[in-house]
């Protein structure tokens, strides 16, 4: 299946990835080749097969809903590219 440049741009927007025009072109070619290769799955009859989302899970994964200590704010913020007080700083969203 050949991906159009239009489709590549749409997926890039969904993935929050800015791509250069060269990257878009390369992505269209390379992803099309991979999609061609994975198309062989369409030949299998999987009508009655249940999906496996996880290899070994059998039990509930929920822990008890109790409060417990978490990382202190200064540790959480230590790697922040920009911060303001005890918050992460981001560019202005609302005009």
């Amino acid at each position: 299946m050949a991906l159009t440049l239009e489709q590549v741009r749409h997926v890039a927007t969904l993935a929050r990835l800015a791509l250069t025009p060269e990257e878009e072109q390369r992505m269209a070619t390379q992803l099309s080749a991979v999609l061609d290769a994975v198309a062989q799955l369409q030949t299998l009859d999987v009508g009655d097969v249940a999906p496996t989302s996880h290899a070994t899970l059998t039990a509930s994964l929920l822990r008890e809903d109790v409060t417990r200590p978490s990382l202190p704010p200064e540790k959480v913020l230590a790697n922040a590219p920009a911060k303001s007080g005890t918050s992460f700083a981001v560019p202005k969203i609302i005009e």
Partner: protein, 488 residues
């Protein structure tokens, strides 16, 4: 013989006997790194201070007669995918350059508690996406057996460091073969445990339903000893199995007499390097000579595993890597106007081509209109692949097969052809899809002197049997005694 030529357990015995100190062993590693790493480039970061402090503490425990574990004082390295408190951790990506984790991954904590000095962080394909280490954002790692060739990937730095005797052992992670293939390419032992056997807490995620950390060592006995340290149920990882950790060394010498070993015929497909096939076939014959029965088995859905993997893993990756948005840690694009632009530009600048390719593929496979045809269908085929193994294990104790269809290839040879690179994983990734354990043990060399590995696959939580099977072969052919010819 140099100190660094010792195996982990040989060093441990010398530490026990007081013949050598952990500080001496750690210094020997640091000197060896200085000597050979400019050619191998296995390390992204060496933590000299941290390793020496840990070695001194270990020596103090030995003097007091209270070693923390049988491997107390044995220096090891970590793939740069494991969070290590206070030591930069990048996952081989520019997007995490400068990131200093505020906590340790559970396995890192376990290694520290067991007293193993952590020498540094080892190179990998960016976010563990690759089979050759060439997608690392920093530099490729070179194979100690031939520096013009790849050590495999994604745990190529770990494999190369062990093979070049820069560390006594290392941890890697395996999502589609990332421990086993580099082990095969470097004449080392690599074990991907059962999914859930080793905690993934603090291990930077690639594909969460497939990722599994494991040991990379020069011998099978070392792999058993290192697995003993890291295999634990971990309440911090909701997918960690609440299983008891057996004594992995206890049955190591039990041999293979009476075992039924399945040989999956789909793992010997056309296009396989004849020298690789010959080495693997010779190993199979050896098992017969040692008293095992070889059984021809079929895993009929093997041909669909590659496609299944290259839909499921990128889908999970596209979701996991959404967190690299320039807000809380890592790179942030400067001069972006607004939040959307900040996300898009940060990710454009931070991720390399392979990571972008997989994010795009995953996003596509999960997007409206394609989810059923791609992602859901792949999950259903995953069920068929799992059932193949369940069926096979009804008649055999374990499976023996090749790891890779080829010997280590040249750096640069496949880098522009993603599909041909993906084909390198064809014999390793069904194991991840099924969640079962897999091991790579050295089984020979090509005429050019390149290592070949043998794969042993087993039932879930049957690591002890895999180690025993591998050990039986290692006892007869101590390929691990052959040392990679790398010198300064």
């Amino acid at each position: 013989m140099q100190l660094t030529d010792l195996t982990m357990l040989e060093l441990a015995r010398k530490l026990d006997a007081g013949e050598v100190s952990s500080v001496e062993a750690t210094c020997a590693c640091l000197a060896r790194i200085q000597q050979v790493d400019p050619r191998i480039r296995a390390f992204l970061r060496v933590d000299e201070q941290g390793a020496l402090a840990s070695a001194e503490a270990s020596d103090a425990r030995r003097r007091a007669g209270t070693p923390a574990s049988p491997l107390d004082g044995v220096p090891v390295g970590l793939k740069d995918l494991f969070l290590t408190e206070g030591v930069e951790t990048t996952a081989g990506s520019r997007v995490l350059e400068g990131f200093v984790p505020p906590l340790d991954a559970t396995v890192v904590r376990l290694l520290k508690e067991a007293g193993l000095p952590l020498v540094g962080k080892l190179n990998l394909d960016e976010f563990a996406m690759g089979s050759s280490n060439e997608s690392s954002a920093y530099h490729p790692t070179h194979n100690p057996w031939d520096v013009t060739r790849t050590p495999g990937g994604s745990s190529g730095g770990s494999a190369a460091a062990v093979a070049a005797r820069e560390v006594f052992g290392a941890l890697g992670t395996d999502t589609g073969g990332s421990i086993r293939q580099p082990a095969a390419f470097t004449n080392t032992v690599g074990l991907k445990p059962t999914y859930g056997r080793v905690s993934r807490y603090g291990v930077i995620a690639y594909a969460s339903s497939l990722d599994q950390p494991g040991p990379m060592t020069r011998t099978v006995s070392d792999a058993a000893a290192l697995l003993q340290v890291i295999a634990r149920h971990d309440p911090l990882d909701a997918t960690s199995a609440p299983a008891k950790t057996p004594d992995y060394s206890a049955e190591l010498e039990g041999g293979v007499r009476g075992l039924r070993l399945g040989v999956p015929r789909e793992y010997f497909a056309e296009g396989m390097d004849p020298e690789v096939e010959a080495a693997v076939r010779a190993a199979l014959a050896e098992y017969e000579r040692l008293g095992a029965t070889l059984v021809d088995v079929s895993l009929p859905h093997t041909q669909y595993a590659l496609a299944t993997y290259y839909l499921i893993a990128p889908a999970e990756a596209s979701s996991n890597l959404a967190r690299y948005d320039g807000i809380r840690y890592g790179l942030r694009a400067k001069d972006a106007r607004g939040l959307k632009e900040l996300y898009a530009q940060t990710r454009e600048r931070g991720f390399g081509p392979e990571v972008k390719r997989r994010i795009m593929l995953g996003t596509y496979a999960l997007s409206a209109g394609y989810y059923d045809a791609y992602y859901l269908r792949a999950q259903k085929v995953r069920t068929l692949i799992r059932e193949d193994f369940t069926q096979a294990f009804k008649g055999v104790d374990a499976l023996v097969a090749p790891i890779s269809p080829v010997a280590p290839f040249k750096l640069g040879e496949k880098v522009d052809d993603p599909l041909s690179m993906y084909l390198m994983d064809v014999y390793t990734l069904p194991c991840n899809l099924a969640g079962i354990p897999g091991l790579s043990v050295p089984c020979g060399f090509t005429k050019a002197g390149l290592p070949v590995g043998l794969q042993v696959l087993g039932r879930a939580f049957d690591e002890a049997l895999l180690l025993r099977i591998a050990r039986a072969f290692e006892r007869e052919h101590d390929f691990f005694r052959r040392l990679a010819p790398v010198e300064a």
